[in-house]
């Protein structure tokens, strides 16, 4: 436990020292939202809740891929070797997942606030939508962390990251879009309990798999 806490703290200090990475991600979200806003500006009235919802999650998906892709590649080879000697791989993957989930929750909350600010806010059930953002951030972070680990070992990691992660993340994205549609319409919670449990179980499967598989990845 102590090991994990130290590793998370290390990630936070590292991020704080190179502020350009985090502020770059925030700027990325804001400018993407603004581009979408300007593109839809001509026909604002045609922005139905379904389009609003889908657009929001696609923006978040791209933000997540960009934000998490750097989680392994930003550190130099020598430093990775240093961690390899010091700590267990399980601690490293858990700390990365926790840290990335934290970053994702922050990015998506900021993204949502700005998005609602310029594009209008049709959400009917704010609590359910918040749960949806939380589960999605957790899921995106855990899938993408392992894929980033895989992709960082290869040469053309940027393309590989997108190609490997998009089909894997798709079921999660579809469930999230469905759940947040329920939240938009303000439906009763019992309607969406299915989606919540499916999302939770996908998250659990992915986290367990990353926990089991990462040691093999780490060794190479």
């Amino acid at each position: 436990m102590n090991e994990i806490k130290t590793l998370i703290w290390k990630e936070v200090t590292l991020e704080w020292r190179q502020k350009y990475a985090l502020s770059g991600m925030l700027l990325y979200v804001v400018s993407t939202v603004f581009v979408c806003y300007l593109s839809f500006n001509l026909r604002r009235n045609q922005l139905t809740p379904i389009v609003w919802n889908t657009l929001f999650w696609i923006i978040l998906l791209f933000t997540a891929v960009n934000a998490i892709a750097k989680s392994f590649s930003q550190e130099r080879y020598g430093r990775l070797l240093y961690y390899y000697n010091l700590c267990s791989p399980q601690a490293i993957i858990i700390s990365k997942i926790v840290y990335n989930s934290f970053i994702m929750i922050m990015l998506s909350t900021m993204g949502f606030i700005f998005y609602a600010f310029v594009m209008g806010n049709p959400v009917g059930d704010m609590t359910l939508f918040a749960i949806c953002i939380l589960l999605a951030s957790l899921g995106f972070a855990s899938v993408l962390t392992l894929v980033a680990g895989i992709a960082s070992k290869a040469d053309n990691s940027a393309t590989l990251m997108a190609v490997l992660s998009f089909p894997i993340i798709l079921p999660m994205l579809l469930m999230t879009i469905k759940l947040s549609k329920n939240a938009l319409d303000g439906l009763d919670w019992s309607v969406s309990s299915d989606e919540i449990s499916t999302l939770l179980s996908i998250d659990l499967i992915v986290i367990t798999l990353s926990f089991l598989l990462f040691p093999y990845l780490w060794r190479s």
Partner: protein, 223 residues
């Protein structure tokens, strides 16, 4: 003649399936009519593909445990023949959908899931090509293969059941087996699955042997 019996068995079964599939008696149902014969090809191909992917995953697990490069060869070649079956399954399904649902690619969650599943495994092949070092490639693509299979099963078999689908067994439709799988179909369907699995293993085996021979030749050249 040592290991040839299962290849002969495979050829016999496949001929049996082709002949009985087109000529054998089938139950007559509304809408589906004679196209129910596609069960022998479309459904059986999908089952064979899932089986091959499962075996491929087992060999990936085995590679990660033991570290023998041969296991990774087997895993990758099985995945390749499974992708081949997957594409054939999509094509036969498309023919079937064209005549019963009136559209070669209706917007159905299972179809989209299948397309995504094939994309996942094509990404696996892409991942394999992006490494020079053999051991490294084997280890990393094994990790991805296990991960991919764990995601593939929910996409194909669990998620479509939660939503409305045109396929039997989804969204309140009952499964095929419960009402119209009579003994005439069973007599062809089960051999069909076994035959396709054997054919897939055969395809994979040829390529594995080719890989092994190439490896030995490379080694003898360098020394």
């Amino acid at each position: 003649m040592r290991k040839i019996w299962w290849k002969i068995l495979c050829i016999v079964i496949i001929f049996y399936v082709i002949v009985m599939g087109f000529m054998g008696p089938v139950p007559h149902l509304a809408i589906i009519n004679e196209s129910i014969r596609n069960t022998y090809y479309h459904v059986a191909l999908w089952l064979a593909m899932t089986f091959l992917l499962f075996v491929s995953m087992i060999f990936s697990v085995k590679y990660l445990n033991k570290g023998k490069i041969g296991d990774d060869d087997i895993a990758s070649e099985l995945a390749k023949s499974a992708i081949f079956f997957g594409i054939l399954g999509c094509l036969t399904g498309s023919i079937w959908a064209n005549y019963t649902w009136g559209d070669p690619w209706p917007n159905d969650p299972k179809l989209n899931g299948a397309a995504v599943g094939i994309l996942i495994y094509l990404a696996y092949l892409l991942l394999r090509t992006s490494f020079e070092d053999e051991q490294r490639r084997a280890r990393i693509s094994s990790v991805y293969n296990i991960f991919a299979f764990a995601v593939f099963i929910p996409i194909i078999y669990i998620l479509p059941r939660l939503t409305d689908s045109l396929h039997p067994g989804s969204g309140g439709n009952s499964t095929f087996g419960s009402y119209d799988f009579d003994n005439n179909i069973r007599k062809v369907f089960y051999p069909a699955v076994i035959g396709y699995i054997l054919l897939g293993l055969w395809l994979a085996e040829l390529r594995i042997r080719m890989k092994r021979i190439n490896r030995v030749r490379e080694e003898t050249q360098t020394f």
